[in-house]
């Protein structure tokens, strides 16, 4: 049997079979089918083919797939945080570089003054990028908010009060204070909250 020459109708037959034609187009197809045996035969063929494909498709477990997707997707959704950690924004990178330089300088000073080996390896300083051009202002005295429960009086130690005794001499509180000073030292740099979160998450 030759094929119908109404190609615009034949093109729509799969949509007609699947019931996705708009009502007007559907009416046009039905009007044509009423008078075209070849297209009716093609509708039967397409319907049989569709039903065969559906019936013969291997059964797959959507619930199992869904569970696997959720399991694999959880870390993917955290991907933004991970990428932020791997490629921190420049502002955060500058702050990190500045911290490395200061720690390196402190270590070197400790070595020069006391003659003991610097605890921070030199290569770290060597690979650090140049510090930001923003001048580091003089440390500002902070009002003491110390309470009776806090016996460590060095928690607000400004940078100037760190007498370059070497980073191994810094207490955790002093190190935290120094980082706090760095925050104040570069007020124009845009801190990226996502970077901070990523760093905290990683640590």
């Amino acid at each position: 049997m030759s094929e119908c020459t109404r190609s615009e109708i034949r093109d729509r037959l799969p949509d007609y079979v699947n019931g996705t034609l708009p009502s007007r187009a559907r009416a046009e197809v039905e009007a044509h089918l009423a008078s075209c045996e070849r297209c009716r035969a093609e509708v039967s063929l397409v319907t049989a083919a569709r039903d065969m494909i559906v019936r013969r498709t291997p059964t797959v477990n959507a619930a199992r797939i869904s569970a696997a997707v959720r399991k694999a997707g959880a870390p993917a959704r955290e991907g933004a945080r991970a990428r932020t950690l791997a490629h921190p924004r420049p502002a955060f990178a500058w702050r990190a570089a500045a911290a490395v330089l200061i720690l390196g300088a402190a270590a070197y000073a400790g070595y020069a003054v006391r003659g003991k080996p610097a605890p921070v390896p030199a290569p770290i300083v060597a690979v650090a990028p140049a510090p930001p051009t923003t001048p580091i202002p003089a440390p500002r005295p902070k009002p003491s908010t110390n309470t009776s429960t806090n016996t460590n009086t060095n928690t607000s130690t400004p940078l100037a009060s760190l007498t370059f005794g070497g980073v191994d001499d810094l207490t955790p509180a002093q190190a935290a204070a120094m980082m706090q000073e760095l925050d104040h030292a570069a007020p124009t740099l845009d801190a990226d909250p996502a970077s901070e979160i990523a760093l905290e998450t990683a640590s």
């Binding site: 049997m1 093109d11 996705t20 559906v54 498709t57 291997p58 959507a62 797939i65 997707v69 959704r77």
Partner: protein, 184 residues
């Protein structure tokens, strides 16, 4: 077989994607349930028989892992089919590289039929299956996407990496070939 974009009672794919990205795991389940049957049919049309579920799962995982890059220029279903197609192609290449038998070549049978299954199956369906299996790989893919998934030629072209016009030609050639094979 209709465009799985949600009904008035079901959220569209885009809305579900946004819900998933906001942390709603149920949205992922809905998307998977919505697109799994369609994707499985397409994967089977590519000549995969035993590993349909594996391929479908891998396609979903890949898609969800890169949803940030999904701009919605095509439908999610089209995108999933494209990913699945690439996965199958990679598997075939890998098998070839390892020197294993590859069953997904052009004009090879799509599925292996159980003789008992054939005996009890509807005769017309068996004949139709044989006819579809004898189509070229491209014809079979296009035919399945058009007939079973109701995709437009534009969507099909995006999946198979062709043009709308070429997809239309492949479809009509497939119809013609099936008619000849079935003597109708």
């Amino acid at each position: 077989m209709t465009q799985p974009q949600g009904t008035p009672d079901e959220p569209a794919d885009r809305a579900l994607i946004e819900r998933w990205q906001a942390g709603d795991e149920r949205a992922a389940t809905l998307l998977v349930e919505r697109h799994t049957p369609s994707l499985a049919r397409f994967v089977a049309s590519l000549g995969v028989s035993d590993e349909v579920e594996d391929v479908v799962q891998e396609a979903f995982i890949k898609a969800f892992a890169s949803l940030e890059g999904f701009r919605g220029e095509s439908s999610l279903r089209t995108w999933l089919c494209t990913i699945a197609r690439n996965l199958v192609r990679d598997r075939v290449r890998s098998l070839k590289f390892e020197g294993k038998q590859v069953e997904l070549e052009e004009d090879h049978a799509v599925t292996e039929h159980d003789p008992l299954d054939d005996a009890v199956a509807d005769e017309m369906e068996s004949k139709m299956a044989s006819a579809v299996e004898r189509l070229t790989k491209m014809q079979r893919e296009v035919f399945t996407l058009r007939v079973a998934e109701g995709m437009s030629y534009k969507e099909i072209a995006a999946v198979v990496g062709s043009t709308e016009g070429a997809a239309r030609v492949h479809y009509h050639n497939a119809i013609k070939a099936i008619k000849e094979l079935l003597n109708v």
